[in-house]
Amino acid sequence: MRLGVDEVGVTELMGVTEHARAMATVASAVLLKSLAGEATLIAPLPAGEGDPEVEALLEEIAEWARATLGQPAVPIVWRILARNVHYLRSTWRKEVALMAAGALPARDKRRVTLGVAMATRARYMIEYHTAVLRHAGDTDRDLLEILGVVDHYTTLNTLSEAMQIESDIRPPTA
């Protein structure tokens, strides 16, 4: 990872990647299939049924959804986590902290999370990240470019794992 990214940028990328993978695990684990919503393993918390802290967090997420997704509804994955205030709070705070612009721009981070969702075939999170990116202005051509990178690297990953290729690429010294 050269291209002018320092340790802070690399660490941001790792954080965004593991967060995207964790969220893909969550969404798949509760059998969330699409943003449209249908039966899930764990029922989402109905509106207005949380304690004051849960309701405040959900209101914060609703504001985010209005600004970032262009929809007023809280995405179901957050309503499912809302059944446990600790789970909801820690995951939402992590999302806000990691996905904000830092060394890397927020939109590039979101493209990374979409790439991870595609690579892990997590349908709900693919739709989720795509909705954010489309609202930010990404076109079909942009989404195809992301898919191309995912596709090509999955190819290279498959080959190198199949042949157990040893890494010959070293981090910069000094």
Binding site: L104, R111, V116, R141, N157, S160, E161, M163, I165, D168
Partner: protein, 86 residues
């Protein structure tokens, strides 16, 4: 442990040599490589596979609207998600 013998870049000719040279030129620019990377070497036993993937690599990693960094961020994340050590 690599399960395949790596093609020796010094002994290849024709199409494989051409692609190894082109790949090394690109890797030298992108991350300062001094020799062709193992991922391309391992494909050198099949000129068809090497050529197909090299063409896809150029099409998908060099010809888009994004910056090289933007594509590399996604590529790195996908490799982590696929739990690929290389």
């Amino acid at each position: 442990m690599t399960t395949i013998r790596m093609v020796d870049p010094a002994t290849v000719g024709g199409k494989v040599r051409e692609i190894f040279d082109a790949a090394l030129r690109r890797e030298r620019t992108v991350f300062g490589a001094t020799q062709i990377s193992n991922i391309w070497r391992c494909m050198g036993h099949s000129a068809e596979l090497l050529e197909a993937n090299w063409n896809r690599s150029r099409a998908l990693m060099q010809r888009g609207d994004f910056s090289p960094l933007q594509r590399e961020l996604i590529a790195t994340a996908v490799s982590i998600a696929n739990a690929c050590h290389y």
